[in-house]
Symmetry: C2
Subunit: 111 residues, 2 copies
DNA sequence: TGTTTACTTAGGTATTGACCTAAGTATTCG
DNA sequence: CGAATACTTAGGTCAATACCTAAGTAAACA
């Protein structure tokens, strides 16, 4: 039941400030929808679309109990994105020395 | 002249597979447009839109020399995204550890 | 100088994204 | 039971994204 979380949907989910704020909030603990939505100046249906995107990305799960839906982060779903990013970051920085000469040359006449 | 790179545009730039592939390619060194575009089954103008998004995100810079445009990564532009992600990842795992401890504790007192 | 090369610009389509309002439905409370 | 609460569904707008073709332009080559 552990479906693969492509880096794809995770980056897309995190490309939106509302959704990033939700993740930041949830990193401090689970919350119910109305609680989560409260800080945002947005109609509830709009907010729920963001929640759906986050759930679709696998970063978040929710469960309805009675008339209340509670939301929480799913463990380790950030890992693939973290790994992709840090790998690129490492490769990138490794190349810095070689790049430096090239940059110095390019910056003489940038267009 | 170092403009701030909001996590925003970086995540958006990386949310697309063509652009991620470009970044992966460029992490191995600079390239010219036609070289970069070659692996993609896409019309050149479409590909150039992706290049524009990457340049807009600050991750990449390009310069035209003669009729050829060369493209390279810009140092350290991934940093803000890496930092945001790793911070959340850390908080996330911390929080879940606490939860585990809490549950383990509850289960002890349970019997 | 004419042609090829390497983009570049212009303009078009189709889909997705981010919002909205209005009207549901299902629980819970008094 | 009736009203309030907490979403949920339906449907609509508008902008942005991801692609395309066709027709430029500017170097470089023969």
């Amino acid at each position: 039941m552990v479906q693969v979380q492509p880096v794809e949907v995770v980056f897309h989910a995190l490309a939106n400030p509302t959704r990033r704020a939700m993740v930041e909030r949830l990193a401090r603990g689970p919350a119910i929808v109305s609680e989560l939505a409260e800080p945002f100046d947005m109609a509830l249906p709009s907010f729920l679309q963001h929640l759906k995107v986050l759930e679709g990305s696998g970063l978040v799960q929710s469960k309805k109990v009675g008339r209340v839906r509670s939301v929480r982060l799913v463990p380790d779903r950030l890992a693939p994105a973290v790994h992709w990013l840090t790998k690129q970051h490492r490769l990138w920085e490794q190349r810095l020395d070689q790049l430096d000469a090239y940059i110095a040359n390019m910056e003489k006449e940038d267009d």
